[in-house]
Symmetry: C2
Subunit: 433 residues, 2 copies
């Protein structure tokens, strides 16, 4: 008997039929002898509908009131889900974020969880009932807060950590994480197991299934994640650093074309991201301290600077160019900050483009395989794809390329690192959302 | 400067435009120098929509979960209303029932208020902001409860009592209480002032504008009510036993055709109710104790028995009939209880009909005017309307008549007691709901 936290996103609870299906799945887990705490998002379009209403009222909603409004969404889905479970003759009780003990900072709209004291959840599970908890929300000083992007996943992982759950199952509309986005790479294959570090890098650099924030939290607290489809019965993807938690009958080899390999794959997956921009500071005097000054301006303006390239414009001018890759929402902000400091920094000009994208290869095997950068450059060069910038972590290598070559680059690298399955990927998507 | 509690019902906040209109009215009250606490219901059809969703999930929703679900409705309206007030550059903060300190019994779906500790409301008003409170909801032992029918009015009155407010304004889609339902009596006139007892009797016997429960609460705590239209600017109806709280410029005479009268009207209004049934116990042995036994059975089965008529079937049989008038939802239940006791009580048969209605005339002047019953019988008799049963309180006289004569009876009594205005009533109804 295990303690299982299950999280169902908005597309898994889009309407009454979906709620019934989710209820059956929860009851099956109960009947298999497990304790089940469920974290649920707002139904399908509820949040969008509430935001539409808000726009009819004001263009600048107060953050506190917006949180009060949006938390109505989970209240609806969680109460209906509890009823749907009752309908199957199993007890279930729903709880708001506050009732579940999720205390947060008072940053309305983007609150961080400070503490989880799930006394009522523990009590409910002990009584033999299913506990249903509203995702995405908490409380701070008797006010309702929301956790912002990826909030429901974060709720689920935080609750799993506080309950010391055996696993946190993330149900979504696809059946796990893939070696690449199957909409771009037709032979992408579902990944059976990833380390938390790999999942972190994939999520941070374009894979959209898991929210970076929840993967970080799961990693920090050692919570095993199991990503599954709420529409199918596939094996899903485990994200864990402890191989013993993965059931013995779970698939272990990514695809049939890799079965002959005795080694673990070097690269687990390829992520890509369209939402990139490139800022180039042109004609910077090549004197000590300039690079540091430019960095200081950048880091004051934006959240993360992922990649830097430095090129001499001409050997005899004593001027250099700096290029940065940034998420597109940060690009303009960085440019404004740099322009404001142009006189002090003494550079000639700035150029900006968002017609770039980023492709990243991720795998723990990179640590022991120094050939990866060479393989990447060679594969892209053979395909006629120019690399503008490059960045690495211990287990990731990212390249910025022209946006119109991004998907081709993704396919090329997926193939070059031998990730392709023999068959086309079949994604069990329910609503197509 | 006064402390004003304003309550806006669902039809007053049906959409974004209505919310903007309500916000402007609240801001006007603020700008007139008053402190304003607002109680708001769920928007228009929200509750019905949530109940529709519920029916797609289960036919027997758990009471606790149903309350969790339905309280999402006020959460939406109150947050949007706060935003709409901000949009007019006034501060406003919304509060759930729990945050506003409404502690209730744990009777989910029909909770009673135990205590109101509106510390956060007081604090908010002191800070110069408008406090917006969710109607219809409270909390009990950290669970969310709803107050059932008339809940938002009840919230408003309870809050007004706890805050020691100067007035509780009930905004609705009509501009006050009328001498009769204007849809039935075209010359019905708006009543400027009623005593709490009159409002109580009118509400209890068919007038639908105020909920009986909130009028009782207002009476007990001495909270002056002011019923107004949220769509127009009419003077509205005051319900109070303290004439000094009514502003001096408020109309005092019901209608132009009564201006010559130096006396207060004997009858203030006529209420009618379609939802009535008549149960007759036929052939009851006329021996001591039988009536008491029948009553005991009835009072065990139903909430209120309003009227009783006793008729000898024939002088020589020694048998009598008892008739009762009951709200239609109680009628069948009473009949079942009586049938179960038929052997013990020894009666011959029971008849039941719901093709009856009740018309009631109400007025504090009845205390000093013993002619009212005679006038009522005469007026109805002249119009060819048969009275089946009759009941009285100190200030009310009710008659049960055939349902197809009910509206005619209402018009006849309205006319007979001189309540008609010279012009047809113009009801400022917004949505027609």
């Amino acid at each position: 008997m295990a303690l299982v936290v299950q999280k169902y996103g908005g597309s898994s609870v889009g309407d009454a039929d979906s709620l019934h299906r989710v209820a059956r799945r929860i009851v099956q887990t109960r009947e298999a002898g497990h304790d089940v705490a469920v974290v649920v998002s707002a139904m399908g379009d509820t949040t969008d509908d509430l935001l539409d209403l808000t726009r009819q009222i004001t263009r600048e909603p107060t953050a506190r009131e917006l949180d009060m409004l949006l938390t109505a969404g989970e209240r609806i889905s969680m109460a209906l889900l509890a009823m749907a479970i009752h309908e199957l003759d199993h007890p279930a009780v729903s709880f708001t974020g506050a009732q579940a003990g999720l205390r947060t900072t008072d940053d309305f709209g983007a609150a961080r969880i400070l503490e989880v004291t799930p006394d009522r959840i523990t009590e409910t599970l002990r009584s033999g009932a299913v506990a249903i908890v509203a995702g995405f929300q908490g409380w701070s000083d008797d006010d309702v807060t929301t956790l912002g992007r990826g909030g429901s996943d974060t709720t689920a992982v935080a609750l799993a950590a506080a309950l010391d759950a055996d696993v946190c199952e993330i149900y979504t509309d696809v059946d796990g994480l893939y070696s690449a986005d199957p909409r771009v790479v037709s032979h992408a294959q579902q990944l059976p197991v990833l380390t938390s570090e790999e999942a972190l890098e994939l999520s941070a650099h374009g894979a959209k299934i898991l929210h970076l924030r929840s993967v970080e939290l799961a990693r920090r607290h050692g919570v095993p994640l199991h990503v599954r489809s709420s529409f199918g019965t596939g094996a899903g993807t485990w994200v864990t650093d402890d191989p013993t938690v993965v059931p013995p009958d779970h698939p272990t080899v990514p695809g049939s074309n890799r079965e002959e390999s005795v080694e673990e794959p070097v690269i687990s997956g390829v992520a890509h991201s369209h939402d990139q921009s490139k800022v180039t500071v042109v004609g910077v005097p090549d004197v000590p301290g300039t690079a540091a000054a430019i960095f200081a301006v950048m880091t004051g303006a934006v959240s993360t600077v992922d990649m830097v390239g430095q090129t001499h414009t001409a050997a005899d001018t004593g001027l250099i160019d700096f290029s940065f890759a940034l998420p597109v929402e940060d690009g303009r902000r960085a440019m404004d900050a740099l322009r404001a400091a142009q006189e002090r920094l003494g550079f000639a000009d700035i150029t900006y483009t968002d017609a770039v994208g980023k492709v990243s290869v991720v795998g723990v095997g990179m640590r022991s395989t120094p050939e990866v950068p060479a393989q990447l450059f060679e594969a892209l060069a053979q395909a006629g794809i120019t690399v503008h910038l490059i960045a690495t972590s211990e287990i990731r290598l990212s390249a910025v390329v022209d946006e119109d070559q991004l998907e081709e680059a993704t396919r090329v690298l997926h193939e070059a690192f031998g990730l392709g399955a023999e068959d086309e990927a079949v994604v069990h998507a329910g609503s197509g959302r």
